[in-house]
């Protein structure tokens, strides 16, 4: 079944990426990857294929991600400055091995969902990481623009500019970014009063994409449960797969749309029930709203504000001038 799907996808350009990577792991990919990275990319995670790498100690996607990003975080300060007045320090530097949740040292983990559907027990493995939203509040609302959505869809935190205020985590419906205190630019500014480290999360292996390589998790998945390609193609593929398995899609509408499409044979309502929201362990609430969308209409009026001001000035200016002329005429007549 898996082979059939792969051969079907192979007819599409995005599949050249996956198959190419599978066949020539570690070798530069065809030019189509580079071409694809110029446009908006998206990933597809097929939960009917993911088995959580039951035969391995750590799922392949997690191991690959950890290996690629192992040197990403610089050495943490020996004495992490105590923030004032709230004394929250988040230090994962001595727990780098943790893989059952998101941490600054672990950008992807696999949730095991034990579901009872139609009287039958079913186990679904759900890799969780940043969804790379279409309009990510984590990036647009960052006070220093340290977090930015790239043209290819990858939402990337620049660790050299991030102050670790964790605002991105607060506005993310899944609270994905994770903080490591004791690193980053805040140490050189006002460490006790401002900032508290650097936020870390999956960046879709943006640097690898630039080099024409696949994201580590996609490349490493032994069951080809993860794909990457142009967004339109991925969405079409997700719909076709969902139709074939009478399944469900997550990530298309959630938070205003994302660049990650999960396809599952079981409803996400049931999967979500197995995911109580905990720090570093996001839930999977179907159709979770993009809260910033509520501000969009007001923002559009703000964009029109200069024209409103001009129109009001023109109208009132004309009216006042007219009033003054009439007054003058009346005075002249009465004079």
């Amino acid at each position: 079944m898996s082979d059939q799907k792969i051969s079907k996808i192979n007819r599409r350009s995005f599949l050249q990426i996956t198959v190419g990577a599978a066949a020539f792991a570690g070798i530069s990919l065809p030019k189509t990857v580079q071409a694809a990275s110029d446009k908006q990319l998206s990933t597809l995670i097929d939960l009917s294929l993911c088995d959580g790498c039951a035969d391995r100690e750590t799922p392949a996607c997690v191991s690959s991600c950890k290996s690629i990003n192992q040197d990403k975080i610089p050495k943490v300060a020996d004495n992490i400055p105590e923030p004032w007045p709230r004394k929250t320090i988040e230090d994962w530097s001595k727990k780098k091995e943790v893989t059952n949740r998101l941490t600054p040292y672990n950008f992807i983990y696999v949730h095991k969902a034990e579901i009872e559907a139609s009287g039958r027990k079913k186990i679904v493995f759900v890799p969780r990481r940043c969804m790379h939203c279409d309009n990510p509040a984590c990036a647009t609302i960052c006070p220093f623009s340290a977090n930015h959505k790239n043209e290819n869809g990858a939402v990337v935190i620049n660790q050299k500019q991030c102050f670790g205020g964790a605002k991105c985590r607060d506005v993310c419906p899944w609270e994905i970014p994770q903080r490591q205190s004791g690193v980053g630019i805040y140490l050189h500014v006002l460490p006790g009063l401002m900032g508290n480290g650097v936020m870390y999360k999956c960046d879709l292996c943006n640097e690898r994409l630039k080099e024409g390589k696949l994201p580590g998790c996609v490349e490493a998945c032994p069951r080809k449960a993860m794909l990457i390609g142009q967004k339109f193609d991925m969405e079409t593929e997700a719909q076709e797969r969902a139709q074939r398995m009478s399944g469900y899609i997550y990530g298309k509408k959630e938070n205003g749309g994302t660049a990650t499409f999960y396809v599952s044979p079981v409803p996400f309502e049931l999967i979500n029930k197995t995911m109580p929201k905990k720090p570093g362990q996001p839930d999977m609430m179907p159709e979770v709203q993009r809260r910033m969308a509520g501000t969009d209409n007001l923002g559009k009026v703000v964009l029109a504000a200069p024209f409103l001001g001009l129109a009001a000035a023109g109208a009132l200016g004309w009216f006042t001038r007219r009033k003054e002329l009439v007054k003058k005429e009346v005075e002249n007549e009465n004079g």
């Binding site: 923030p83 007045p85 709230r86 929250t88 279409d134 309009n135 990510p136 509040a137 990036a139 647009t140 609302i141 006070p143 220093f144 623009s145 930015h148 959505k149 790239n150 043209e151 869809g153 205020g165 964790a166 605002k167 607060d170 506005v171 809260r291 910033m292 509520g294 501000t295 969009d296 007001l298 923002g299 559009k300 009026v301 703000v302 964009l303 504000a305 200069p306 409103l308 001001g309 001009l310 009001a312 000035a313 023109g314 009132l316 200016g317 006042t320 001038r321 003054e324 005075e331 002249n332 009465n334 004079g335």
Partner: protein
């Protein structure tokens, strides 16, 4: 000077700001303060610094709520700022535009505020007010432009060029600090005793006549000149050129029959007297 500036003799006041100027000022002031506050709350400070425990500020750690208020305030701020420029520009009201020598004169005025030297006679606005106005207008303009870019990015283009986003963000942040400093300077200026009478002006539109006569004598002279011209125009008389010497007070003018009388018959009688007087003055 505004055309509507006039002496309210009975109330012992001078009309300094019209309703439009008052609305502009307070719209920009209140929205500007809200922008400062919600701008601070757009930084992750509310939880860390326990603003959230202050009664009435429970919302301060919710960045989306702050954004709603920030947008609403920026709508007023932007529209009022652009309105101000366009409206007064159209009406050619340039009293707040700096003039040559304002910098040196500002130093003289500021020194006089602290008891060093004497303040020179002033027009409607003080030289440092004119300089501060341009400074504040520049800060506001940059905040508005960078804010509009950020708003556009939030709604339509989250993947806008990172260079533009970084420029807009950092310029907005730096000018936010400058705006805060300018606001503090503004508060410091009105905290100085000689400036207190102007607070009444920005609250009610009027300042005390004796304050205006004492401090803004050039402005008063200008008003009085216009009033005399208006009276003369209404009476279709050509006045002789007005010399630089101080003008008589309106009360004196009325006593001398140069101001219009209140009832028709007296007015007619006065007109004849006035015409004769003006004619004889012209011969001089």
């Amino acid at each position: 000077m505004r055309m509507a500036d006039k002496i309210l003799t009975e109330e012992n006041l001078v009309s300094r700001h019209g309703i439009i100027e008052l609305i502009e000022h307070w719209a920009i002031a209140t929205s500007g303060l809200l922008l400062l506050l919600t701008g601070i709350f757009e930084l992750p400070v509310a939880k860390r610094y326990y603003f959230i425990v202050v009664p009435g500020l429970g919302w301060s750690a919710d960045f989306i709520t702050s954004l709603y208020i920030h947008y609403a305030a920026s709508l007023v701020f932007t529209a009022a700022g652009i309105f101000h420029l366009a409206y007064h520009g159209l009406r050619n009201e340039k009293g707040l535009i700096p003039r040559k020598g304002d910098m040196a004169e500002s130093v003289t005025v500021i020194k006089s505020l602290f008891g060093f030297g004497k303040e020179p006679p002033m027009p409607k606005y003080l030289p440092e007010q004119r300089l501060a106005y341009v400074g504040m207008a520049f800060i506001m303009a940059i905040l508005i432009i960078s804010g509009l870019i950020k708003t556009y990015k939030n709604i339509y283009a989250p993947d806008m060029s990172l260079t533009i986003v970084l420029w807009a963000t950092w310029v907005h942040n730096i000018f936010f600090i400058l705006f805060f400093l300018a606001f503090l300077a503004h508060m410091a200026a009105i905290a100085l005793r000689p400036n207190w009478p102007m607070v009444r002006g920005i609250l009610t539109g009027n300042v005390r006549l004796n304050y205006a006569r004492h401090r803004h004598s050039l402005w008063l002279a200008e008003i009085e000149k216009v009033e005399v011209v208006l009276v003369a125009t209404a009476q279709e008389i050509v006045l002789p050129p007005i010399e630089a010497e101080p003008l008589p007070k309106p009360q004196t003018l009325q006593q001398e029959g140069l101001m219009p009388a209140t009832d028709g018959e007296t007015a007619k009688a006065n007109d004849e007297v006035t015409n004769e007087k003006i004619a004889s003055d012209s011969k001089d």
